[in-house]
Structures are given as structure tokens and as C-alpha cells.
């Protein structure tokens, strides 16, 4: 099963929650407890504001750091913090909003936010926080899913890009006589071919360019369309259009990476491309910048790592689409005084000095434009230089309605071509039809 960053969050959280609990206890001074996932309880005499998040350890550490700093500045307000496994949070939010017993603030994945905003369940962000335009403070890709009809319904923390960088193993490249990381698409394909090693039985001893994860296939495809000057949305802005000449060319070229150039294959390994890279079994891997910190944590002995810029497929800039990542929303039905305090906390987190800490601790790319090329961040996380270079070229992917189905349809079309079950044009037409049917069903009559 290919692993997306979102599912990675859930899986890693399960294993490391104990570590998180320790750091939480250290970080949360008032009323901290190990009971379940509750890390602080209401405090009498203070204005208690409840906050839910998912349980990725680095996110929990970043969140509790924010609580500690905020409560030091605002002694009258207490943040009652609870966290849940990723999947549980996704379902709990749905059920809790239905039952009207949801927390005052929730850390939501951006792609989820639109549905809640459309159903008028979220409080509108105060103007002093949103700025004159949402995109005046935050990157358009980061804030896209938080907006509905021109209004902002949450504050994003991170720019959740999957494009822009490639994990690169300089040692394996040198052994193959490759001196420099690829700077053009042709270089990338050629390096991928040279770095792929297949044994006599047709199995891959080494993958040249691992990119067949669920996320990478779709994000690469969308990025290639944009770089060719096309668009993946139909003129109605609601349905997808994979019939354009740009979409067809992008799709054929992407699928040829496995059918013709054979730089990777979905049947060569189980698991995700980045794991293959950190096991030394892939020379290059397409993955977002989040993977650098995660890979270093999971494979501390692996050192042959460089994070290099993804070369453009067409033109000279890497245009790409990105989902909106994690951020804060406030329950529209919360008590007005609590809502005011909640926005105060969210605004506190969005202050550049705090956002810097939060992004560094959670190993994420800032959603705040102000922190692009931030010297303090680069000093502590030099790999951020690559994503910082492409942030202005990204756009919000758009309202995909059902994210998992959308990505699965594209992924399945890719596998279908790889296994020669369908020709590329028929496969992508099929994916387009399925995605549009899904969107129609979601919209309803």
C-alpha cells in the first residue's frame, strides 16, 4: 500500500504516542494528566477553551508548546487539549458536529475544511486575522480549502506540498557515474534509467526514480498538466477535464516512465517510495519535504541523503497543485466569549515568531508568506531551501470533494496502463468519468 503523508501521520502516531505523551506532560503544566488522550482538563476560574487535534507526536509537541506560550501571555485563558488518532479524529469531527458537542477549536486537515464551511458549521475568521485578502498573509495553495465564497473559515499552519523536491542518494549516483543531481526532466529520466538495476528474474534490485506512491502519481500528473499550460478542471470549475491535449500528453509521458523508461513499477515493492529510498533500495524518490524529517527519525543510520529540486517537466518553472494542510478552525456555535478567546489563540499561533516554532517542531512548511526563506528556519532545517524556492509556483488543487476517491481513480488508471490492461488514453478517460460521477454524486440533484 502506498503511503500518503496523511496516512503516515496516523501510522507513525500509533507507534510514537507514548513518546508524545511524555513530551506533553512536560509541556503542559496546568492540570496535565495521562488519562486517555486528554492532556489537560478544565481549570476553575479560567476561561476554558477546548481544542482537538490528531496525535502525530511532532504535531502534539508543537501544539503543547503553543499552549504553554499562549497561557503564559494570557493567564485568564486555559486551553483544554485533547488529541486522537488521525482516522478517529476525521470521524469524530463528523459525529461531534452532528451531535453539537464538538471542541471550540479543531486542528483540521485543509481538504476537510470546505465541507464544514459549506454547511455553516465554522466561524468566519475575524478580519484582523485574515488580512484584507486571505492570500495577503497566506500562500494561495495553503489557504484555498479554508475559503468559501470569498470568506475565510480557518487559519492554515502549513503549505502541504508534495512537489518541489526529490530525495537523492549522491553515493548511488556517483557509483553510476552521475556527478550532479538532474536539472532537467530529460536528465531525471536518464538518471532514473541508469540508476535502475533489474536482476535476471526481472526484479528490481534498485529503483532508479521511485514515484509510484498514491500521492506522487496524482500530484506529478497534475503538475505536468499545469507546466504544459493546461488545466485539469473543466470550464465549469466543478468537474475535471483530462481530455485536453496537455492532460493527454502529461499522462502518456508519466505512464511511459514505467512502461518505456522503467524507472519504477508499482509491483516491484510494497510500501511507499520514500521507505525504499531510506532503505537504500531507491536512488531517487519523489516526495514532499515532510519526508526528510520523518525519514531521518525512522532511519537514523541512513546518511546518503540530499533533498534536491524537482526539475520542471516543461518550461522553466515547476508549476504544481497542492492541498491545503493542517490549520485551525473554530466552532461557529461556541459561546461568543469562548470564540473570541479561541481566535485569540489561533491568532497567537499565526504570529510569525510562534508559527516558526510550530513549523520547525512539526517539520512542516509554513503557510505564512512572511516566513519564506526565513533565515532562522533555514539554519535549523536547511532542506527547507528547496520547497521555499517553489512556494510561489503552487496553486490550490481545488475542491476535489472526495480526496481519497479522486486520488484512487488516477492511481488505478496508472496501474491499469502499467499492467497493459488499458491504453493510456482510455485509462485516463475512465478515471475522468469516475471522478466526475463521484463529484455529481457528492453535489446531489
Amino acid at each position: 500500500m502506498p503511503l500518503s503523508r496523511r496516512s503516515f501521520l496516523g501510522r507513525s502516531a500509533a507507534g510514537l504516542s507514548a513518546v508524545a505523551a511524555g513530551s506533553v506532560l512536560a509541556g503542559c503544566s496546568s492540570g496535565a494528566t495521562t488519562e486517555g488522550t486528554v492532556v489537560s482538563k478544565p481549570v476553575d476560574g479560567k476561561l476554558n477553551v477546548t481544542w482537538w487535534s490528531h496525535n502525530n507526536p511532532s504535531f502534539v509537541t508543537a501544539n503543547t508548546t503553543m499552549i504553554r506560550r499562549f497561557e503564559a501571555e494570557n493567564p485568564g485563558i486555559h486551553i483544554v487539549y485533547q488529541y486522537f488518532p488521525y482516522d478517529v479524529l476525521a470521524r469524530k469531527l463528523q459525529a461531534a458536529y452532528r451531535a453539537r458537542n464538538v471542541a471550540d477549536i479543531q486542528q483540521m486537515f485543509g481538504t476537510w475544511v470546505t465541507e464544514y464551511a459549506v454547511n455553516q458549521l465554522l466561524d468566519e475568521v475575524p478580519s484582523e486575522l485574515s488580512g484584507s485578502e486571505p492570500t495577503s498573509r497566506f500562500w494561495p495553495a495553503a489557504v484555498g480549502a479554508y475559503t468559501h465564497k470569498g470568506k475565510l473559515y480557518g487559519v492554515p499552519h502549513e503549505y502541504n506540498l508534495e512537489n518541489g523536491g526529490i530525495l537523492y542518494n549522491p553515493k548511488l549516483a556517483e557509483q553510476a557515474g552521475i556527478k550532479e543531481p538532474p536539472s532537467t526532466w530529460a536528465d531525471l529520466v536518464e538518471a532514473g534509467e541508469r540508476l535502475t538495476k533489474i536482476d535476471s528474474k526481472g526484479r528490481a534490485d534498485q529503483v532508479g526514480y521511485a514515484f509510484t506512491g498514491n500521492d506522487s502519481i496524482t500530484f506529478t500528473f497534475l503538475s505536468m498538466i499545469l507546466q504544459l499550460g493546461g488545466d485539469f478542471w473543466d470550464s465549469d470549475g466543478v468537474h475535471v477535464d483530462f481530455h485536453s491535449p496537455q492532460a493527454r500528453k502529461a499522462w502518456v509521458d508519466e505512464t511511459e516512465l514505467v512502461t518505456r523508461h522503467k524507472v519504477d513499477n508499482t509491483t516491484w515493492y510494497t510500501g511507499d517510495p520514500y521507505t525504499m529510498f531510506f532503505r537504500g533500495r531507491a536512488a531517487m524518490a519523489h516526495q514532499g519535504p515532510w519526508v526528510v524529517a520523518s525519514g531521518r527519525a525512522d532511519f537514523p543510520k541512513f546518511t546518503d541523503l540530499a533533498y534536491v529540486a524537482e526539475p520542471p517537466y516543461a518550461g522553466d518553472t515547476l508549476k504544481f497543485a497542492a492541498e491545503s494542510g493542517w490549520g485551525e478552525v473554530v466552532n461557529a456555535r461556541a459561546d461568543p466569549k469562548v470564540r473570541e478567546a479561541a481566535w485569540k489563540f489561533v491568532g497567537f499561533m499565526a504570529r510569525p515568531d510562534n508559527a516558526r516554532i510550530w513549523n520547525l517542531t512539526s517539520a512542516t512548511v509554513p503557510a505564512l508568506k512572511e516566513l519564506q526563506n526565513d533565515s532562522q528556519m533555514l539554519a535549523k532545517a536547511p532542506y527547507l531551501k528547496v520547497p521555499f524556492g517553489v512556494l510561489p509556483n503552487g496553486r490550490w488543487v481545488g475542491r476535489v470533494h472526495d480526496r481519497d476517491q479522486f486520488w484512487t481513480f488516477v492511481h488505478d488508471a496508472f496501474v491499469s496502463v502499467e499492467l497493459h490492461r488499458q491504453d493510456p488514453v482510455a485509462a485516463i478517460a475512465d478515471a475522468e468519468k469516475q471522478i466526475n460521477l463521484m463529484i455529481d454524486e457528492k453535489i446531489g440533484p
Binding site: 528474474k201 515493492y269 510494497t270 488505478d412
Partner: protein, 316 residues
């Protein structure tokens, strides 16, 4: 009849004081009151945990239910028609589930009967062997699946390693649409075998030895005794095993979810997995409930047909 009974007519004037005997309910009514009184708690539990959910499920299946939306419009049978007309993944999942059950049920029954027959004939270490075969059955399906996933790994799995030693080429067992379902099926049969072995063993040991002795006296060989004594006298056990195994495989979920998540290309996506993904991945609860009801009807019909065909008309 009532007109001819000799029920005493009430006399004029004050009624006589009721005697303890007059207070007693007639025998049948008393029995019924006793039965219903004892059944009341379980009936209440059934109502709360089975009947009410079924009614809610039927209500859900007739609505476009979005937990976040303030209203859930009534759409009649649209969810049911959508499953058969606009959701090829549902039809695919029905086919996958059908294939799964048609292959795995007979395979499981044949293998478990064979193992049970072997165990029935050995006297030494029978308990040990019985335990060995039963052990996988007590493991959770998730744990069993997690044991098998690395075995199937195309790079480091020992299945491919063994094949390579034999000069055969391995493959991506879970990553290839042609083998993914079979690989999960093999895990299922391996894990479920133990339970049916125990049931068959109990059935075999319940057959009186006199039947075999008589058959031997009549000159029946091993095959003949199996065909004319063992198989007929195991019929009730067969019905039990066949129905339970079929229902279990028609509801296969955990192992496919853990091992393949229904992929690749939905080649191992069973109905229950599809329902789960629609319900808790896409939050289409109304539609998922409609599919659940369809599956329930299918299982009901199959179970009734099985019980009708395999029913036994004798006792021993």
C-alpha cells in the same frame, strides 16, 4: 364452543371474595406469561440493539444522509438503483466476493475435513496436532494478516525466496491484480481451517462406531465406509460448517483491508470493504446502508437455500 361451556354466570348481589385458586390464570396463559417474563430482558435487548438499528438502517438507506448537512433529503430507492446502475465498483465487489466464497468455502471444507479425518485416526499427539491447527483461529485477523504480508513481499518475502531456490520466478503477490485476491484467500483458509477442523472432529467422534463395524462386516472398504457412513452421518455438521463458512466469507473484510485495502485495481475489494470505504471513508452513510441491506438479503437467500438443500431428515 363457548356457548356450551358451563361457565358459571355471575350471581346477583355482592361478588364472593376471590379465592387463591380463582386468582390463578388458566394454565396456557400462565405458561405464556412465564415464558414472556423470562424472555422480556432478551427481547428488550434485541429490540434496542437489533430491531431499532435495522429500522434506522432502512430509514438511512432511503435518504441522502450527510452528517454535516442540516437536512437529509428523502430519495426513495435511489441508493439501491445507484448501486446497480452507477457504481461499477459495487458490482465489481459483488463479483469479487462471489469468487472469494465460491473458491474459499469448498477449499476450506475439503481441507478441514481431510485434516479432521487424519486427526481422527491418530491416537498419539492428537491434542498437540489439534492445538497446532486451531492456533491460527484464535489469532485476530489483523495479526494473521500482518504475519502474511511480509511473506508475500516481492523483495524480501520468503515465498519468493523459496520459489527462486526452486528456479521459479516470484512476483508481487499482493501488488498484482491477478494474484492479490488469491493471496488473501490463502491466508483466510489457513486461518479459518482450525475452527472447522475442530467442528468436523467433533462430528466424526459423535458417529457411533457400530456403523463402521457393521459396514466392515458387510465388506465395505475405506472409501466405501467414508462415502456411505461418514459423509451421510456428518450431514448436520456439514450444514453448520457450510453455512457459517459461507456467511463468514461473504462478509470478508479485515484481511483484505489489512493486506491490500481492496487493491490493486479493486481486484480484492469485497462488498463489506466497499461498504466500509463508502461509509467511513466517503461518509456516504445512506448509500453504504443501502448496500448493507442488499448484502444482507443476498446472504439470507444463500443461507436459506443452503439449509434447504442440505437439510437432514433423519436422526441417529
Amino acid at each position: 364452543m363457548a356457548a356450551t361451556t358451563t361457565t358459571p354466570t355471575p350471581a346477583a348481589g355482592p361478588s364472593p371474595a376471590p379465592t387463591p385458586t380463582a386468582n390463578r390464570l388458566p394454565g396456557r396463559r400462565r405458561q405464556l406469561a412465564f415464558v414472556y417474563g423470562w424472555l422480556a430482558p432478551i427481547l428488550a435487548l434485541f429490540a434496542v440493539f437489533s430491531l431499532v438499528p435495522i429500522i434506522i438502517a432502512i430509514w438511512l438507506s432511503l435518504h441522502r444522509y450527510n452528517q454535516l448537512a442540516p437536512v437529509s433529503p428523502f430519495i426513495g430507492l435511489r441508493n439501491f438503483t445507484y448501486a446497480f446502475t452507477d457504481d461499477p465498483a459495487f458490482l465489481n465487489s459483488l463479483a469479487v466476493t462471489g469468487k472469494y466464497a465460491v473458491v474459499a468455502v469448498p477449499l476450506n471444507i475439503v481441507l478441514s475435513l481431510a485434516v479432521a479425518l487424519a486427526l481422527n485416526h491418530i491416537t498419539r499427539l492428537r491434542a498437540l496436532f489439534r492445538t497446532v491447527f486451531f492456533l491460527p483461529a484464535i489469532a485476530s485477523a489483523v495479526a494473521a494478516s500482518l504475519v502474511w504480508v511480509p511473506i508475500y513481499d516481492p523483495q524480501a518475502g520468503w515465498l519468493n525466496a523459496v520459489l527462486n531456490l526452486l528456479g521459479l520466478s516470484g512476483r508481487s503477490w499482493l501488488g498484482d491484480p491477478g494474484t492479490a485476491l488469491w493471496s488473501v484467500m490463502l491466508t483466510s483458509v489457513w486461518q479459518d481451517l482450525g475452527f472447522n477442523v475442530i467442528v468436523f472432529l467433533a462430528g466424526l467422534q459423535a458417529i457411533p462406531l457400530d456403523f463402521y463395524d457393521v459396514a466392515k462386516v458387510d465388506g465395505a472398504g475405506v472409501v466405501s465406509r467414508f462415502r456411505h457412513v461418514t459423509l451421510p452421518l456428518l450431514q448436520r455438521t456439514f450444514v453448520f460448517v457450510f453455512c457459517l463458512t459461507t456467511i463468514g466469507y461473504l462478509q470478508e473484510f479485515t484481511r483484505v483491508q489489512v493486506m491490500t485495502a481492496g487493491g490493486p485495481l479493486r481486484s480484492s475489494e469485497t462488498v463489506v470493504l466497499h461498504i466500509y470505504q463508502r461509509a467511513f471513508g466517503d461518509f456516504q452513510l445512506g448509500y453504504a446502508t443501502a448496500m448493507s441491506l442488499i448484502l444482507m438479503l443476498i446472504i439470507l437467500v444463500i443461507a436459506l437455500v443452503q439449509m434447504r438443500i442440505l437439510r437432514s431428515r433423519w436422526e441417529y
